[in-house]
């Protein structure tokens, strides 16, 4: 899906919690927030600060150095819990 959209000339960024599978699909841009699994890939429930941090980091891949085909892993497990 991501590749199809990117081929239309629209930049994309994927948030994934399955980096091994995702990297095989050669994504144009992908962020893997370590410490989360399917069901809460965008952060803990009712923790708006953490969710926004992950989102901002994902969107940051749009403006950052291009690394097509890679999955950028970042750790959010040390972020203080809220909510």
């Amino acid at each position: 899906m991501q590749r199809a959209i990117e081929m239309l000339g629209i930049p994309t960024v994927l948030v994934t919690v399955e980096p091994e599978e995702t990297v095989q699909a050669r994504p144009p841009r992908a962020l893997c927030p370590r410490g989360f699994v399917a069901g809460h890939s965008l952060g803990r429930p009712n923790d708006a600060a953490l969710q926004k941090r992950i989102l901002t980091d994902a969107l940051g891949l749009l403006t950052g150095e291009p690394r097509p085909g890679e999955v950028i892993e970042r750790d959010y497990t040390s972020a203080p819990a809220q909510g």
């Binding site: 899906m1 081929m7 000339g9 629209i10 960024v13 050669r26 069901g39 749009l62």
Partner: protein, 145 residues
């Protein structure tokens, strides 16, 4: 004159990464969300959790409280408390209010769970991609479960 979309998308080697550079600033981007987590508006038709290669359109006006999901393949403890864990619509709207992005697209999209890979590849994905193309967002955020 508008060009008709080709019936079959160009196929690339899987080793080749399609890449569209992002030009401009995040503060100027209109963002569209495309999910594979079986998310839909509560008023919309449920996905078949056994396998469903259709997709649902989610209004750009929708809030998290307007949304639900149909799935039996990932842990629901978090999404039941806060749908933003899988479809961050309220958080993105907050980013727009804070002027960190320009806004949200008029339409977002979600697919359900499906193992009908050929159907997905030949029908669902090209169709959905055409819808995204018509919406012409500045960028697309893709989320799984």
């Amino acid at each position: 004159m508008e060009k008709e979309a080709p019936p079959k998308p160009l196929e690339l080697s899987r080793y080749c990464v399609p890449f569209t550079p992002f030009r401009g600033k995040l503060e100027e981007v209109t963002l569209c969300v495309v999910s594979t987590a079986g998310v839909r508006e509560k008023r919309d038709k449920p996905f078949d959790t056994e396998g469903d290669s259709t997709y649902r359109v989610i209004s750009g006006e929708a809030n998290g409280s307007d949304l639900t999901y149909d799935d039996t393949h990932y842990d629901h403890a978090c999404a039941d408390r806060d749908i933003n864990c899988i479809f961050p619509i309220d958080r993105l709207r907050e980013l727009a209010t804070e002027q960190r992005i320009a806004g949200l697209a008029e339409r977002h999209f979600s697919m359900g769970f499906s193992q009908a890979l050929r159907d997905l590849r030949e029908t669902t994905i090209p169709r959905l991609a055409r819808e995204v193309d018509r919406a012409r967002p500045g960028a697309v955020l893709l989320t799984g479960g």
